[in-house]
Symmetry: C2
Subunit: 324 residues, 2 copies
């Protein structure tokens, strides 16, 4: 008896490692989450990743195990052309680590015969791949993926595949500058789109603006103990708060300007937006309007912004797609 | 007797068509220039292109003719994925024209046996290819090419080849916006780098600034009948004129900001600058300084701006490289 071909996807986050067996349709089988223990250093994290994989493998039948084509791992850092992660920002104690090479011997025991090939990629690239193969980019060979979360990251998909640039770091939408004399960005430059749309930056700008006006329902929400963050602003906007609506429209104007520049440079038409704030219809509508108004006429109304299909599962699904 | 393998390059400009036989080392053999007669419409221009090719072919020996691997043609417009040019801006009366298909029968008579394959590409892409194969990008698999001329165009070179994007229009460096509320650009957007660095725009900004100061040797140069244009400003800067120096430094700051955004998105390190103003050391030095100060730390000092090797011959040489 032969089983359907599947692969294992692993999403290594700063706090949890998620792992599942993923068939072609993108379902998650034997899904599990365990703590990353990032503060304990690379040896512990690599062992935890291997344990997660072994745990999923232990749950499948022998024929299902034989049908596993590979293991894909998404990690929060750039993977260079030698397959190494270099100093991932949220993982203390990591230098340059060849993740696949280090994981292979740790999972060999879990597989009876041969250990399947292991592929490792950056988490934004992996999430983009999930959209390309089974999500909002399905059927579109070329698109730009942008994540709207703590930071603003992204990935260039070309001919259905991750386009890595020179060293694996392509797609840094967050560091397109929309104003060369604009707000200082953590990266050292000015006016980067992340310096407006990144979670902490957006929150700080909103806090500044709220100090200048008493006309927003956000004041009451904050007095009730709510925490000021982009999702709260979106909630206020959805409830009709004019301040929140205008604020998100301004943020969309900025994001749309950056995306228009990117589409012009890449000669692309589609942007897929993932991450928490991709669920803000107000932000996405304003972004698409700004983007369409600014792209070259050769792109024009074909410019389109779609919310990602996957949110929390993008990492596991995309990682599994790496190993197909 | 076998001859060295060569190809024919054709550079179709708004006023002249240049054509030559080009061996691997990039020399131009039997080089000729004829008027394009662009105002006479596509039939005449296509005939002129064929005449130029036939004229070069007529000058070579039979064995040399047999060693011609192909004909490459660079044209001032985007070539779509079907090999057609669509409404080239400076060619009145052209709609959608499949250039290679139309040229093939017109040059069949010039070749004794088979007509070699014909490749057609946009002129900025072709100039970038010349740099990739025989110029400032030799040995660099990935770089961004930017032309500093009437407009600001460009090309993305990936793995030594032209990266065309979705429809052949990738590399529009000129329409990266450096200020979402900046100067209006002819494309309909605001703050595009072309709206500062494009020849007419740069001249207009300099003229505005000159009206505000009497302290520049440019006033005397203009009174002597010189025409205000970027090359004159560069001449004044080279002679130590403070106004001209500061002006070009400001332009370099702007161009560098746009290039930094592009390098961040592409994860590239090298920019090769062609076109007339690539000969301005003042502009290039200021541009590189701004670019390096603004790129992500993962790129950092590896960011480099090189002047193109080829200036007026880039089109013919690059077109010939298309046909290898």
């Amino acid at each position: 008896m032969t089983s359907e071909r599947t692969s294992i996807g692993v999403d290594v986050g700063g706090t949890t490692i998620k792992c599942a067996l993923v068939p072609a349709d993108g379902r998650l089988l034997h899904h599990l989450s365990i703590p990353t223990e990032a503060t304990s250093g690379p040896e512990v994290v690599l062992t935890r990743i291997a344990e997660a994989i072994a745990s999923v493998v232990s749950k499948v039948s022998r024929s299902e195990r034989a049908a596993i084509t590979g293991v894909g791992i998404g990690v929060p850092g750039v993977i260079n052309n030698r397959g190494e992660i270099s100093y991932p920002p949220n993982f203390p104690g990591w230098g340059v680590v060849p993740v696949a090479k280090r994981i292979a011997p740790l999972i060999a025991g879990a597989f009876e015969e041969r250990t399947p090939p292991i592929a490792v990629e950056n988490d934004a690239n992996v999430a983009a791949l999930a959209e390309a193969r089974a999500g909002a980019g399905l059927g579109a060979p070329h698109f730009l993926y942008v994540t709207l979360g703590t930071g603003v990251g992204g990935c260039v998909i070309s001919d259905g595949r991750i386009w890595r640039g020179e060293t694996g770091g392509a797609g840094e939408v967050g560091h397109l500058s929309v104003d060369l004399n604009g707000r200082p960005c953590n990266c050292g430059s000015r006016g980067c789109v992340e310096a407006y749309i990144g979670q902490r930056y957006m929150t700080a700008i909103a806090a500044e603006r709220l100090r200048e006006t008493s006309h927003s329902t956000l004041h009451a929400m904050l007095a009730d103990g709510a925490e000021l963050q982009p999702s709260l602003i979106d909630r206020a906007a959805s409830a009709g708060d004019t301040f929140a609506l205008e604020f998100l429209e301004e943020m969309g104007e900025i994001l749309g300007a950056a995306l228009a520049s990117a589409l012009n440079l890449l000669d692309y038409r589609l942007v897929v937006a993932g991450g928490g704030m991709s669920r803000s219809e107000t932000l996405l509508r304003a972004t698409e309007r700004s983007m369409r108004a600014r792209v070259l006429r050769s792109i024009g109304d074909a410019a389109e912004l779609r919310p990602a299909r996957f949110l929390n599962d993008a990492g596991v699904i995309g990682a599994a797609m790496l190993a197909r």
